[in-house]
Amino acid sequence: MSGTLAAAASTTSTGEALQFWVLGTVAVIGALCTILMHKAVHSALCLAGTMIVLAVFYLANGAYFLGVVQIVVYTGAIMMLFLFVVMLVGVTAADSLKETLKGQRWLAALCGLGFGILLCAGIGNASLTTWNGLGQANAGGNVEGLAALIFTKYVFAFEITGALLITAAVGAMVLTHRERTERARTQREQSEARVRTGRNVPPLPAPGVYARHNAVDIPGLLPDGTPSELTVNATLRGRGQIRDVSTDALAELAALEQRSQRWLGRKARDTGKKAEDTAEPEHGENGENGENGQNGENTAGANSRGAAK
């Protein structure tokens, strides 16, 4: 940062150089993670990291105001907006990174490589060995200097960006707003209507399978064992986010059988060393299941334990 104070310098301080190389690496890694992470949430977080690094670089380059704005507005507001939308759209949905368009990867790689090399070549072509630094410009304070420019030289652009922001806000509202065309019915009216039509007179059945699952996205089972979609919230139904676990129990049982067979087989090869002890490895199996942290797997483990008993 001392470099910025010099009137005309040819090199920056060692501290800044160190900072650049360390944080620059972080920024590039963050950017790469942004484009390579399967889940949008992870991408957003990586991007936020890159932006914070950039904010540091702004500060290092004498753009104090922008550095702060970068953290407050970009990282704080815009990235959070991204997260909101990610949550709204469905945070569980992980993207497949498998490419579906033929040749897209190759073209992207070729273009990216060519673009980057050409851009760097251009910068190298026009690079400076000495620079002025912002010492003079920032003499009266960075914020004051910016304000002076914004309200004099760039005042019209400033006004127009204001109009742009308002338009964008209105536009966002128009795009996402859905007009309610009739008064919402009260609970009483709804129950009266239910009685009048004679359908679903009592409340809808609750989701979940008794004693096994009680999550809202798992449909309850009818007496014959088939899942009833009525038991799941209409929104989840609409999104197609119903988890059908009716076959899970059998599938897990089968998986357990397979695993115990495999273990028994391994056991059979080691007959000479150990006496038969089924309890110990079963516990170990259960421990593995618990580490997986998956609810279903856990339940299955509990089932198998129950079955073993």
């Binding site: 470099g3 090199t11 920056t12 150089a17 650049f20 620059g24 920024a27 590039v28 950017a31 942004t34 949008a40 991408s43 957003a44 890159t50 950039l54 670089f57 702004y58 004498g62 753009a63 105001f65 922008l66 704005v69 507005v73 970009y74 815009i78 907006l81 991204f82 939308v85 759209v89 993207d95 490419e99 579906t100 897209q104 992207a108 790689a109 673009f115 980057g116 851009l119 760097c120 910068i123 400076l128 060995t129 620079w131 002025n132 630094g133 912002l134 410009a137 910016l146 420019l149 030289k153 760039y154 400033f158 960006t161 338009t167 964008a168 536009g171 966002a172 795009l175 996402t176 999104r239």
Partner: protein, 99 residues
């Protein structure tokens, strides 16, 4: 170190962002990549500002941020409404503009 290195970094980030736009299908990630590109530009502007010794580069970066904010607001609104109607945020699903 020469501050030109910041420009190289900006170029690198910009290229990474552009590649992300091209290879990702999720519209939200795609938008993030666009943001990354914009930020790379801002870094370049700030660096130019330092190299030239005046604040105009920072002003441009400032305006870029404003415009980016507006763009994000509208873009995300579009994504939400597309998601509502198509139940998907993949840009490949909206490929109706072909024969």
């Amino acid at each position: 170190m020469n501050p030109v290195n910041y420009l190289y970094l900006a170029a690198l980030l910009f290229t990474i962002g552009a590649a992300g736009v091209v290879i990702r299908r999720n519209a939200i990630v795609l938008f993030m990549c666009v943001e990354l590109m914009l930020n790379a530009c801002n870094l370049a502007f700030v660096t130019f500002s330092r190299l030239h010794g005046n604040l105009d580069g920072q002003i441009i970066a400032f305006f870029t941020m404003v415009v980016a904010a507006a763009e994000v607001v509208v873009g995300l609104a579009i994504i939400v409404s597309v998601f509502r109607s198509r139940h998907s945020a993949s840009v490949d699903d909206a490929s109706l503009m072909k024969l």
